[in-house]
Amino acid sequence: MTPRDAGDHASDATARPRIGVREIESLRAELERRVEDMAPPRWNADPEEVQRSVARLVLTLVEFLRQLMERQAIRRMEAQTLTPEETERIGLALMRLEETIRDIGARFGLGPEDLNLDLGPLGRLL
């Protein structure tokens, strides 16, 4: 089982897409963003920054819950087990929850990219 690229294969050269530097660089950038920390998930409140650390943990957990609830609401919407009134109510609530998380985060200088504490096995639920 040795890996081959599309380039290795004997097929019509004109049909083979040319993958350039720009493409490879975008993949590199994406991997840099995504590769997780190797150590086990750890939350350690820095004494100088306790407020911000606590806010970060709390908002990460709430954001996680928001995503779980959004997923469940979408599932039920698709399964049509929500009335139009319920759909409207849940939609508004989720929308406001998203705004609130963003607003509270902003007060601590936390953007959506900061609410990414590794939640270990909990994170894998999503």
Partner: protein, 225 residues
């Protein structure tokens, strides 16, 4: 000494898979109806080109000697066999399901490049939807797009006969639109690349490039959702 885990297997390897990435002998720990391929190490290996390629080589040798393998993430060092047994026992049913899915199969990685399709206009319902409903509908469509990579649609008929399972991940890194991981029967990588070439003009201007075959790294249960 701690337990460095390379992969999970359904059955013992048919042939000797050689040593681990630190030249340590491999052993196979039975837990909850599956086998963990393990090497004993004092400390986790550093991340380097050499160690990554060596780890992948061990996984490939194991894959060649079994039907079903679930590669474990690089750098997974557990305190000992008891910790490993604990953590595996809880997850055994899903892991066994995943092993059944990947049996006799390997992974092709497809990177999709081009311009992301703009979100479709929201479909109005029979009555004028309120803001909450529009929001939820928008989130629903976004979730659909993330999972399905609509930009790949022209290529799918070409690939469909070969693809046994798919895991797609959307990116926001132009020109990279998405990474799509396909599970194909072992030995079908050539046919997959042929199908990709055959579908390339239909797919244009979107472009897709495939690498593989790989052991099924992307088909661990946590990545399938």
């Amino acid at each position: 000494m701690s337990a460095y885990v390379y992969a999970l297997l359904a059955d013992p390897p048919r042939a000797d898979a050689g040593p681990g990435l630190g030249d340590e002998p491999l052993r196979y720990l039975p837990v909850a109806g599956l086998l963990a391929a393990v090497g004993d190490m004092a400390a986790p290996p550093p991340v380097s080109r050499t160690t990554l390629l060596a780890h992948d080589a061990v996984v490939r040798r194991l894959a060649a000697a079994v039907d079903a393998i679930l590669p474990v993430r690089f750098g997974t060092l557990l305190a000992g066999d008891a910790a490993l047994a604990d953590t595996l026992a809880e997850r055994a049913p899903r892991l066994r399901e995943a092993l059944a899915l990947v049996a006799g199969r390997e992974q092709m990685t497809l990177r999709v490049f081009g311009e992301a399709a703009s979100p479709p206009a929201p479909v109005p319902g029979t009555s004028d939807p309120g803001p909450g409903t529009r929001y939820l509908e928008g989130r629903r469509q976004q979730a659909r797009r993330d999972a399905e990579v609509p930009e790949l649609a022209p290529l799918r008929p070409h690939l469909a006969p070969l693809v046994r399972a798919e895991h797609a991940q959307r990116h926001d890194a132009p020109p990279l639109i998405a990474s799509v991981y396909h599970l194909v029967d072992r030995g079908r990588a050539g046919a997959y690349l042929d199908a990709l070439a055959a579908g390339a003009s239909a797919l244009a201007p979107t472009r897709a490039a495939a690498t593989g075959p790989w052991p099924p790294y992307a088909f661990a249960p946590e990545h399938l959702g």
